[in-house]
């Protein structure tokens, strides 16, 4: 399944990046375009929704690292929702989860206040 990344602006400048398909090296163009779009919109926080992502490989992880690096430089929180247990584990061992809080629902991730899942 081809990769797609769609930006939807929720309340208070929190942008949700809805990812679908396979997050691998071939997702780079779509991922970068969507991320650029939400930066142009001046998002104050970013929620990455992985609910429709079936496969993430090391190239996909590198794309997320790029988003995290940019967010860290701009002091913009990044939150994640919709990860399977397997990919939660992958994000933990790679320590991406130290820089990206994981939530159970998109609503909670947008608010950024609900109980953390970790």
């Amino acid at each position: 399944m081809a990769f797609d990344a769609e930006v939807s602006d929720r309340n208070d400048g929190v942008a949700v990046l809805h990812l679908s398909g396979q997050l691998d090296g071939q997702a780079e163009a779509a991922m970068t375009a969507a991320h650029d779009q939400l930066l142009t919109q001046g998002a104050s926080a970013v929620v990455l929704n992985f609910a429709d992502v079936g496969y993430i490989n090391s190239s996909g992880i590198a794309l997320i690292v790029q988003i995290l690096a940019r967010a860290k430089a701009d002091d913009r929180p990044v939150r994640a929702v919709g990860l399977t247990d397997h990919y939660k584990h992958v994000f933990e061992i790679t320590r991406l989860s130290d820089f990206m809080t994981m939530y159970e629902t998109e609503g909670a991730a947008v608010k950024g206040t609900a109980t953390l899942t970790r």
Binding site: D24, G25, Y55, N57, S58, L63, V65, A69, T94, F99
Partner: protein, 539 residues
Amino acid sequence: MAGRMRRWRDARQERRRRPDADDQDAGTTRIDTAPVDIAPDDPALVHFQNAGGPVDLDAIGFESPSVRTLRAAGVKLVVPLVAQGELIGLVNLGPRLSEQDYTSDDRKLLASLAGQAAPALRVAQLIRQQETEAVERERIAQELRVATLIQQHFLPQQLPQPDDWQVAALYRPAREVGGDFYDFVELSDNRLGVFVGDVTDKGVPAALVMASTRAVLRAAAQRLVDPGSVLGRVNDEVQPDMPDKMFVTCLYGVLDLDRGTFRFANAGHNLPCVGFDGGGSRESKATGMPLGMMAGMTYEEAEVTLDPGDTLFLYSDALPEAHNPAGAMYGFPRLVEQVGAGPAGAGLIDHLMADLEDFTGSDWEQEDDITVVAIQRATVAAPMPTDPDTPSGRRLLKRFTVPSGPGNERLALQALEEFLDEVDMDEVQVQRLRTAVAEATMNAMEHGNDNRPELLVEVEVFAEPAALLVRISDTGLGDQVTADMPAPDIEAKLRGEQSPRGWGLFLIQEMVDDMKVYATDDRHTVELVMALNGGSDGV
């Protein structure tokens, strides 16, 4: 001229549709002539066309076939219908009922009537003509669609994917579909039958002959061993029913997938050409008459051997016989040279199509169907050195290969799926093994094989009493990742001091219970070990 006469008849029909009452009002005797054709060389044609008004038939100073016919039918006065200087019909009148001559007022009235009727009649004729032409165009388009449908239906929907071989093909139809075909027949003993052919005609008839020849060929290929016998049998079967002036050129060969030999026979088709791994190429020759010309033909056989990396190239006429705007032909010498100069395997087809476009220019209208087939014997990693400490309980579950290229790790994952259900691993382990195999395959394709599709990654799955082993091997071409590399540092990556990439090996090590690397000069193997839950043979 034929068109002019046809229109003349149309005008006569228009006249006949007028109600009888009009004839009575005009005061003329009713006449009923059979259709009158005016031959192109009949002087009456020019006379009527230039008359400029009604013509008294008795006053015509010459004789001609049409004038005689009109007089015989009792016509007294002819009113030519002329539109844009062209005679498009006649209004023929008999004598007046009063037996007096037509008056000058009558003639003026008739001239005025003809002046108004002629353009209207001309428009009606043009519309009818356009309708006829549209029907004809639609008929031709429909025939093209049928021929294309037949053609495409009988081309392979899927190419064979034998282990250690890469098969690529291109069929590019011309506007008017020709009778090209190619196909593959899977034979016993790991052999593959390959044929490429061309029917010497176009459109539906060629497509039908192609379809029946292909069916006979497939059947003969499965029954007979020698390519020469296959073509001989096919020739004898198709010859009696072959339409006049039609025949089929065809090359048929059997590829031994283990030994790399291609034994072929040739019924008047283009010769096969082998592009060698290190560059250069060679044509191989076998002669024989095209199929369907004469019964009882015999076909010579020849054999070529493909070494790993070599590409067998088969093609139809349209490629070598393409012309450039100056009228020069692409030609066989250039084709053979380009097969030797181009890349191997599927890339060779793209290379030749690009070279053809260089030659013909981009607005070339393709003259005939183009059919090309490229079959490459892949370069596989050298065999694994003997493993001194192989436990006695280990058995090979499956061995398969994946061509190198971005995204192809998913092919390895697909092949892996069939074992995962049978193996005693929980969902967590299955997911981790998937990630590890994907990452190891990506490393092998990218670092070991330089992402070159003709270099294959070999995957072997072994079962041991207490573990599942997956070995992923490449040709050891590029810079290898090694097991003792430092773990990626997320903080350094976020600060931009380290590349955001470089997670593959770290992930593999974290996902599996053990990872080993075996390396020789021409093979690099990563072995992944996953402990099985049962402890005994979990498969």
